[in-house]
């Protein structure tokens, strides 16, 4: 049997170690640049975090407690995060733009003992919680009209006496819970420990070697796992983290200007955003020469858009980072900045990161031969602790094999001896039609090769008939849009006949989730609605 070496835990103990070390080494350097250009130094960030920790401790927050964050992205939110971590509590960031009911249901699910929000967030929470708000609610912006004894102003928190003694954190402490959409529509909380995060951040250091002279983007919302690299890698190395507001993050023209104006050196986002920058960012007119590394993750980067981007930004190094929230990044690959003209295949996700061990199994949980498709399992110190209060999902998520706990990613991969892992698709994006197995992502890849197609999202379902119907939702590059016959002809030239979509629907833009991925659930609803109406 092949005895696999399971990676050991990292040296760092907790995420606050990074801040404390940088506050010592670089007290006057800028840690955070707010969307409006306001600066916060390492010394001030650490001092404020200590005061927040002192306040939370006085309010009875202890190891293992959960503290919610319902705030737009800013240095205030980040300061709160470090304050929470210094008390050995775990932070629970939620989507500020989501309906209040969703935020409240998450906070109730993991029973947060305190919440950081602003005055409008407080209004939403009061509506959802009624008179039973958690015992501490800090209002970081706006008026603090106290409804009961639990509401405290940000100023009051920052004038609290600081907690300076070492927290006594251990690697197994719960650090944060990120809620992801569950397949059933109810969000589930992914629990990540200090060690889960630090093993990943320390791996990033060893591979990317950032320095205190770097300027990191913070594009991802804090409830999205891409933020872990942004925040902690920047803070660990004494670099500056430039916060991109939610509004700016969706506006490619202004976002491109931001990259140039702030002289960013390290960018990290989903491919969707980079594709928007390439198409609408007017990049050829801007000086973004300071960029030295571009990371992308979260979905497949259609080569057509990647090619456009690398053509406009030929100077940085490009890295494809792959991994679910449950493991954070677990494989990675450098993508060449000059992409061959005839390349249409997406790039591989690459070999496993040094802190992760991979295993590819068939449905019977037997290891596949190298080169064969199978489900990717990951073990190592970055693999999450489990879903909050979800014993059934936890039992299904992990496989115990030779005393090692493996997480099943649900992603189908194939290993190439040269290139590492090749992402084949989601297990649940695989459909059967007329006996043939079809990967819907495969159809999307083909559609992206069409010169008139800017975006493609393909869904399949029975939709009231006995056959699997495949519907392609498309966004055209320009008017006039290609006709249905033209699309059918194109697909028949690029795909087996059984993969040719039944219908093509043009939209102004594809629906997206709060983390900017194509919202397939919404496309499915649209497809079912059309079928019912027909």
């Amino acid at each position: 049997m092949n005895v696999m070496e399971i990676p050991k835990a990292a040296q760092t103990i907790s995420l606050t170690d990074y801040l404390e070390a940088s506050a010592k080494s670089f007290p006057q350097r800028t840690a955070i640049v707010d969307p409006d250009g306001g600066l916060l130094s390492y010394q001030d960030l650490n001092e404020r975090a200590c005061r927040i920790a002192g306040f939370l401790k006085a309010r009875g927050i202890v190891l293992g407690d959960r503290v919610g964050l319902l705030l737009p992205k800013s240095s205030v939110t980040l300061t709160a995060i470090f304050g929470i971590l210094k008390t050995r509590a775990a932070y629970v960031p939620v989507d500020y733009s989501a309906p209040g009911a969703r935020a409240a249901s998450i906070f109730k699910d993991c029973e947060v003992r305190a919440i950081f929000t602003n005055s409008s967030g407080l209004g939403l929470l009061e509506k959802e919680y009624g008179s039973s708000l958690p015992e501490t609610v800090v209002v970081c912006e706006g008026d603090t009209v106290s409804v009961n004894g639990s509401v405290v102003s940000w100023d009051a928190v920052l004038s609290h006496s600081p907690l300076r003694e070492a927290s006594g954190a251990t690697p197994k402490d719960l650090a944060y819970i990120l809620y992801t959409s569950g397949s059933t529509g109810v969000p589930k909380g992914v629990m990540l420990s200090q060690e889960n995060a630090t093993s990943f951040v320390d791996w990033c250091s060893s591979v990317f070697s950032p320095t205190e002279n770097d300027h990191f983007s913070s594009h991802a919302p804090f409830h999205f796992d891409l933020s872990i690299l942004d925040i902690y890698l920047a803070i660990k190395h004494g670099a500056s983290l430039h916060i991109v507001s939610e509004e700016l993050g969706k506006n490619p023209r202004e976002l491109a200007q931001f990259v140039a104006d702030r002289r960013l050196t390290i960018w990290y986002s989903t491919p969707s955003i980079l594709a928007l920058l390439a198409q609408f960012g007017n990049l050829s007119a801007l000086d973004c020469s300071s960029l030295r590394m571009v990371f992308f993750a979260g979905e497949v980067f259609p080569v057509r858009h990647l090619k456009a981007l690398t053509g406009l930004w030929p100077h940085p190094r490009y890295f494809n980072l792959y991994g679910p929230t449950e493991t954070n990044v677990c494989t990675f690959a450098e993508v060449p900045s000059s992409i061959p003209e005839d390349r249409t295949e997406p790039y591989p996700i690459g070999p496993a990161c040094a802190h992760c061990a991979p295993l590819v199994l068939d449905p019977e949980k037997v290891e596949v031969q190298s080169g064969e498709e199978g489900l990717l399992y990951i073990s190592g110190p970055s693999v999450f602790q489990g879903y909050w209060n979800r014993p059934k999902e936890n039992a299904a998520a992990f496989l115990d094999r030779d005393g090692v706990r493996w997480y099943c990613t649900g992603d189908v991969v194939r290993e190439d001896p040269q290139e590492g892992f090749i992402y084949v698709g989601r297990r649940d994006r695989m459909v059967k039609r007329r006996g043939y197995r079809i990967e819907l992502d495969d159809i999307e890849c083909a559609l992206y090769r069409h010169p008139g197609i800017r975006e493609a999202g393909v869904v399949a379902g029975m939709a009231g008939s006995e056959h699997t119907k495949i519907v392609a939702y498309l966004v055209a590059d320009a008017e006039p849009k290609p006709g249905v016959i033209a699309m059918k002809m194109f697909c028949s030239q690029n795909l087996p006949a059984y993969m040719n979509p039944d219908s093509f629907v043009f939209m102004d833009s594809l629906p997206r989730t709060s983390t900017n991925k194509v919202d397939y659930q919404a496309l499915m609803r649209s497809m079912q609605g059309t079928e019912r109406g027909a």
Partner: protein, 87 residues
């Protein structure tokens, strides 16, 4: 409208509705390739054959349902007209 043109119009409406929702009728011309272009796959061709049999009162043999007779509105209409003439 002559007979061939009438057959073509009925076929055009049927194919547009069943297999090309959203397409502009003008894009489905009399000589748009249907089989070789992927507009009709084997399953869809069977539905067209059934439609032709029911609407025009003819019987289509299995060997007649190939590309030579079913690759465009023109070829289908010619095939139907010939079948009707031979009845």
């Amino acid at each position: 409208m002559d007979q061939a043109q009438g057959i073509k119009e009925q076929l055009r409406q049927f194919i547009l509705k069943e297999f090309l929702p959203g397409e502009s009728p003008a894009n489905l011309t009399d000589d748009t390739p249907l089989r070789t272009s992927g507009v009709l796959d084997s399953m869809a061709t069977l539905q067209v054959v059934t439609f032709v049999e029911e609407h025009f009162g003819i019987e289509v043999e299995a060997h007649e349902a190939g590309v030579e007779n079913f690759d465009s509105l023109n070829s289908i209409a010619a095939f139907v007209a010939q079948k009707k003439a031979n009845k």
